[in-house]
């Protein structure tokens, strides 16, 4: 479903951010993407949602490939993904409900469908009662739930979460993580980039570790990388 094949990524004013990264994310899978700061976690995710193109190698996402990807393909690719960030990225002048509806409006969904879908996802993330509150009237954990609801409302194949608990305290972190697990349980794949090892230890999911832009460990391989990084 998502497949990175021998991906290298160099930025104009930097060294190699990714070196020969090959990774396959299967349908419904939950993956921890770990590694120190600067290891390349965000870069992997940005390649997946086509915010960046690989310097060499290919990235394939549900029928789209970076080889021959056109600018107008990008919106269609992103509609199959849900993306959340550490800083929530909500619109301050819109309520929780409007923030979620926004994702449907901009993709041209019919108005009659929007309200029902919004209510469903807000209920799913446990915020049905706070639908009319503005981001500044919500706690950090609640704001991240709104962001997750927005990511889910288009029924994505995979949820990409870049450090979603980075700004949250321990309790809120646990809540958001539980929510991500619940989402995964309904069949949505989740790629969770984090350097919070406590989180990683809490669940028996596949763990991929990056170091200086290279994959050094993949629990799916059950052995250090470098030897057995064969594509399946």
């Amino acid at each position: 479903m998502i497949r990175l094949n021998k991906v290298f990524k160099a930025f104009p004013k930097g060294s190699l951010a990714l070196k020969d990264v090959s990774l396959h994310v299967a349908k419904g899978e939950f993956i921890f993407l770990t590694g120190h700061s600067g290891a390349g976690k965000s870069t992997v995710l940005r390649l997946v949602y086509a915010d960046q193109l690989p310097t060499s190698g290919t990235v394939r996402v549900s029928g789209f490939s970076t080889a021959g990807l056109k600018r107008r393909d990008i919106p269609r690719l992103r509609r199959r993904l849900g993306i959340v960030f550490q800083d929530f990225r909500l619109l301050e002048d819109r309520t929780a409900e409007e923030n979620v509806a926004f994702a449907l409006e901009v993709t041209g969904t019919r108005r009659s469908v929007i309200s029902a879908k919004v209510t469903r996802v807000l209920t799913q993330v446990g915020l049905a009662t706070k639908a009319n509150q503005y981001p500044r009237e919500l706690s950090g954990g609640e704001q991240q739930r709104v962001a997750i609801a927005r990511a889910l409302v288009n029924d994505p194949l995979v949820l990409l979460a870049d450090e979603p608990t980075g700004n949250l305290d321990e309790r809120a972190t646990r809540g958001v993580f539980q929510l991500l697990k619940d989402i995964n349980a309904t069949g949505t794949a989740v790629v969770l980039a984090t350097h919070d090892l406590d989180l990683v230890r809490q669940a028996p999911f596949r763990t991929v570790e990056l170091q200086d832009g290279a994959i050094v460990y993949d629990s799916r391989e059950d052995e250090p990388a470098g030897e057995a990084l064969v594509e399946r």
């Binding site: 690719l77 992103r78 993306i83 990225r89 619109l91």
Partner: protein, 285 residues
């Protein structure tokens, strides 16, 4: 579509000062443009009235037989430039002189013979009332055997030409200058809105909005501002027109069609400027 309109209108609520500024600047630019058009319009109708009077007079040799004159009239009427030919006999000329020159009544009473020649008054069709065509016709008329003299106001036909040329060029230059200024202002306001809303645009992209979708509200926004500027310009022009026509001299105002043309012009300016600006700045946010 409804969403696009809502987004576009939101920009007025979000940045009321900037929006008002954009509309007034466009309004004033088009106002000056409109004023000039009004002047040109009124000048043109005045020029038209003067042009009406452009005619070539061909004085005939005394004693030219009427049959010859009749044939000549037929020939002249066949000229492509000629609208009408009017035959003024010697007696008619004298009668006209009597009526027009009342002060000299006495002189005419004393006349024993009529000193005035018969003439043909030739009017040209609207497109041919400039000096080149008038001279050409006059030359051709001199060729007739029974012609005593051919006259037309050569000097002021040429002046009329020049006035018309100048009016056209000045109108074009000033119009273009103001259109360019108005477009730059719209482009700038759109750029500022794009930058001010970069966060929102970023989020729209993340959730899969197409470039066209992101662009549309900005373009509609520019078009609305341009149209409102056009309406403002027409209102200002009308104010100026009232002031002038009350106190100074009679003038005419735009027809409904011309007024809507100014509004349309504003809309097109706003649309083009915002489309160009969004096209340039959107990929960078």
């Amino acid at each position: 579509m409804r969403l696009t309109l809502r987004e576009a209108l939101l920009s007025f609520r979000r940045a009321p000062v900037l929006s008002a500024l954009a509309i007034t600047t466009i309004g004033f630019a088009l106002f000056v443009f409109g004023l000039f058009s009004l002047v040109a319009l009124n000048l043109r109708s005045t020029l038209g009235e003067i042009e009406e009077r452009v005619e070539v007079v061909m004085y005939l040799t005394r004693g030219t037989p009427v049959e010859v004159v009749t044939v000549a009239i037929g020939d002249i009427q066949a000229f492509p430039e000629v609208e009408s030919v009017n035959f003024v006999t010697e007696d008619q000329a004298l009668e006209r002189a009597r009526q027009e020159l009342v002060e000299f009544q006495g002189i005419f009473e004393d006349l024993t013979a009529n000193p005035l020649p018969a003439s043909l008054e030739i009017r040209l069709k609207p497109g041919f009332r400039d000096s080149r065509n008038v001279s050409a016709v006059a030359d051709r008329l001199s060729g007739f055997r029974f012609v005593e003299d051919v006259r037309f106001g050569r000097d002021w036909v040429e002046k009329l030409d020049r006035l018309r040329d100048i009016a056209g060029v000045v109108g074009l230059v000033i119009g273009a200058a103001f259109a360019a200024a108005a477009m730059m202002i719209i482009a700038t306001t759109i750029r500022m809105t794009v930058l001010a809303r970069s966060r929102e645009i970023h989020i729209m992209r993340l959730v899969g909005a197409t470039d066209g979708f992101i662009r549309r509200p900005f373009i509609v926004d520019g078009a609305i501002k341009g149209a409102l500027g056009g309406v403002l310009a027409v209102v200002l022009c009308y104010g100026a027109y009232l002031l002038v026509s009350r106190g100074l001299f009679e003038a005419s105002f735009f027809t409904g069609q011309q007024a809507s043309l100014i509004v349309l012009l504003g809309t097109v300016l706003g649309l083009t400027a915002s489309a160009a600006s969004v096209g340039r700045h959107l990929p960078r946010v």
